[in-house]
């Protein structure tokens, strides 16, 4: 291969530590780490369910471990942080028009948070025996 003659600035591994905006970007990338923990918990739950009532009881106890609760609390906060950044994208990627006017971005963001709330209320209703 021909020797590279053009200038290539070398990016160091810690480039993202240099600016708050990049740190926020990397924090958002990292939101999936506690998410993966929660998802693996759910998978373990699914398979413990297949082991019968005793297996399921063991999983419920595992979920009560303070360390597990702490990690899942982190996952919960990460999911809300992710939601906060994700909801701001929607009005930019897909601006909606209603009655000949563009829907204000903050209303679209608000609508999405309302969606999160509705899902939570619905989940509470289902778990409390509504279904």
């Amino acid at each position: 291969m021909a020797k590279q003659t053009s200038y290539f600035p070398e990016l160091k591994r810690d480039w993202w530590l240099k600016h708050p905006y990049f740190k926020k970007y990397m924090a958002r990338e990292a939101t999936v780490l506690p998410l993966v923990f929660f998802l693996v918990c759910l998978l373990a739950g699914l398979f413990s369910l297949l082991q019968g009532a005793q297996g399921w009881q063991g999983w419920l106890q595992f979920m009560q471990n303070p360390l597990v609760i702490a990690l899942n609390l982190l996952a919960f906060m990460a999911s809300l942080f992710h939601a906060w950044t994700f909801f701001q994208l929607f009005p930019r990627v897909m601006p909606l028009r209603a009655g000949g006017r563009t829907v204000p971005p903050h209303l679209m963001v608000l609508g999405q948070w309302l969606g999160v709330l509705v899902v939570m209320v619905l989940a509470a209703w289902i778990l409390m025996g509504g279904l």
């Binding site: 399921w56 609760i69 899942n72 994700f86």
Partner: protein, 125 residues
């Protein structure tokens, strides 16, 4: 006949991964918070009655059509979202090799998703 230029260009698989990433992102933002809140926080912490997730209820809820939708929306799609972010995060941190990272991250998401579906199928049988 000469092949047109577009025939010679290998079609990129990136749209698939970006599509799964976006779909998983919506699920992560809208459905996952509620799932974590109830299943992993309020019930284990004893704030909500544990009977909500008794063995019989959990079994009848998950091994059903709504249960399958739950697995798709709360487990599988967020897995691909996570895989995408981990893949690009590794690139940002200059870790690993691009092609290998891609296979390992999306491969793990696919494997765990398949595992969830196998668990579901065993459960309904």
């Amino acid at each position: 006949m000469r092949k047109s230029t577009s025939d010679n260009i290998k079609r990129s698989d990136e749209p698939i991964w970006w599509g799964l990433f976006s779909a998983g992102g919506v699920c992560f933002a809208v459905f996952v918070p509620a799932a974590i809140l109830f299943i992993a926080l309020l019930i284990p912490a004893g704030i909500m009655a544990p009977e909500a997730l008794s063995f019989e209820r959990a079994e009848s809820m998950i091994f059903s059509l709504p249960g399958l939708i739950f697995i798709g929306v709360v487990v599988c799609l967020p897995l691909f979202h996570a895989a995408h972010r981990i893949r690009h995060g590794l690139h940002d941190l200059k870790l690993g090799k691009e092609q290998l990272n891609k296979i390992v991250t999306y491969g793990s998401a696919a494997l765990l998703s398949a595992l969830a579906l196998v668990g579901f199928v065993i459960g309904i049988m």
